[in-house]
Symmetry: D2
Subunit: 149 residues, 4 copies
C-alpha cells in the first residue's frame, strides 16, 4: 500500500526520530520507534505495569496512543522539510483483548493530499496465540509548518 510513496525530504527518518524522541509520553510508556520507511512506521511497546489496565492487559489508551503516533509519523515521513503533523482525528476499534508481552502498531498512509493525509493503522499484540491484530484505526492527519526553532 505504501510502497509507491516517494518522500519529499530525504532526511525524513531523522525528522521522525527527532520528533518521537521529544515525546515524554512515549518515553514514559517504554515505546520504541522500530521502523521508519516512506509512508509506513512501526512503533512497539513491551508490556509493563505502566501500560496496564485492570486485568493486566495493555490499556486501550496505549493501543490508541501508539496507533495514532504510527499513523502521524507515517504521514510526516512523506512531507517536505519544515513540516509537522497534527492528528485531526482518529477512530479505533478494539477487536481482541490486548493481552501479551509486546504491542506493535503499524501506520500506513492511504492517501497523502497537500494538507490532509489519510491513514490506517493496525495494532497487534504478541501473546499466547502468536501475533494477533487487537486494534484497527483510521485517522486524518494535517500538515502544518514547523514552528521556528
Amino acid at each position: 500500500m505504501s510502497s509507491a510513496f516517494v518522500p519529499a525530504n530525504p532526511d525524513f527518518e531523522s525528522v521522525v526520530r527527532a520528533s518521537f524522541g521529544m515525546q515524554g509520553l512515549m518515553r514514559a510508556i517504554g515505546a520504541r520507534l522500530v521502523t521508519v520507511t516512506p509512508g509506513r512506521v512501526v512503533i512497539e511497546v513491551p508490556f509493563s505495569e505502566t501500560v496496564s489496565q485492570q486485568h493486566g492487559h495493555f490499556h486501550g489508551g496505549v493501543v490508541g496512543a501508539i496507533g495514532d503516533n504510527s499513523g502521524g509519523y507515517a504521514a510526516l515521513s512523506l512531507l517536505p522539510a519544515g513540516s509537522e503533523v497534527l492528528t485531526v482525528e482518529y477512530k479505533v476499534n478494539f477487536i481482541r483483548p490486548a493481552s501479551g508481552s509486546l504491542l506493535s502498531a503499524e501506520g500506513l498512509v492511504v492517501r497523502a493530499g497537500r494538507t490532509l493525509i489519510a491513514t490506517r493503522m493496525d495494532v497487534s499484540v504478541v501473546g499466547a496465540k502468536g501475533v494477533e491484530v487487537c486494534g484497527i484505526l483510521q485517522a486524518t492527519m494535517m500538515r502544518v509548518d514547523a514552528p521556528p526553532v
Copy 2:
C-alpha cells in the same frame, strides 16, 4: 443529559473506583477520578513531562485515554453488580491544542442499552485562555460479566 439515569447498583461508585485503581496506566500518568455520578464521570490529569508530546502540550494519547476511560466508567456506573465494561470503539477529534496545566475529561452516557452503551465525552484543558474544550469523543461501550474473583 445524564441526570435521568438511575444506577442499577447502589455501590456503583466503589465499583468504578476499584476498577480505576487497578489501572497501571492511570497511575503512571497521574490521573485522578474526580467525579462518579450515575452516567457521568470526570477524570483529571495534571500536566507533567510524562504526558507530553514534542511541544510540551498534553499528548493526544492522553486526551484519548482519559476521554475513553471517562466514558467507560460513566457506562459502568449504570450497570448491575457483577458487570464490567469493554470499550468497543471510540473516535476522537482534536479541536484545539491541549496546552495547559490540567486536562479534564467528562464522560456522559447518551443511551444505555442492555449490552451496548453509547457515550459522548468532552476533554477540556485549563490553560492561558481559561477552560477550553480540546477534544471531543464518541464511543461504544459493551457490558460483559466480570470474571470470577
Copy 3:
C-alpha cells in the same frame, strides 16, 4: 452551543439553500432544509419507501446522509462568501431503531477553525414514543474555495 457564532457572510442562508437545492440525493429522498441559523442547521425527511431498509425503518444511510449534510451546512453558514465545505470524515453511532414518520437531523458547529470545522449532529426520529435520538454523529468539515461559476 452555536448561539455565539457570528456569520462571516450576511447572505449565509441563501448560500446554504442554493447548495442544498443542487443536491440530487436530497431531492430524491424528499429532504427539506428546515432551519439555517449561524452554526446550526436542521434537515428533515418524511418516511417513504424510498428511504427504507428491510424492516420498514429509515435506512441508516439516510441517517448518515442528512446527519452529515446538517453538519456540513452548519459549517458553511459561518464561512466567508466564496467558500464551500467538504466533509473530511464523519462517524455515526446508531443508538435506537430509526422507526417513525419523520427523521430530523440537527447539525451544530463545535469549533470553527480557519480551515477545519468540527461538528456534532443528532438525528432524531418522530415515532410511537415521541421524539427520540436515533443517531449521533461527529464530523470534520473543511473550507475550500468555491469553484468559479
Copy 4:
C-alpha cells in the same frame, strides 16, 4: 483478508440477497449487489442525478450508505441461519472526490466475534483516472436474532 472465513449458513448468499432486495433505499439509488462471498461483499451504484451532490459528483451519503451496507452484508454472510445484522456504528473518511460513472463498495470482515463483527470497507469510483479509492470506512456490526416471519 476474508479468504479464511467459513460461512455458518450454506445459504448465506440467498439470505444476503433477500435482505438487500427489501431495502427501498438501495432500489431508489440504483444499487446492485455484485458479489457475495464469505466475509466479502461488493455493492455498485451507477451515477445518476439521484445520487448526486451540488457539483455532479456522487453524494457522500451514497458513499457512506453502500460502504456501510457492504460491510453489514459481509458480516451477515458469516452468521448462522436466523441471524440479522445491525450497524452499531461506522466511520468514513472521504479521501478523493467521488467523481465518475460508477461507485463500488467492497466490505470485508476483519474479525467476527459471536455478537460483534468488525469490518473495513473501501469505496472506489470509476472515473477519468481509472479506479480510485474515494472513501475508506471502519464499522462495528452486531448480530441479532431475525424477527419471526
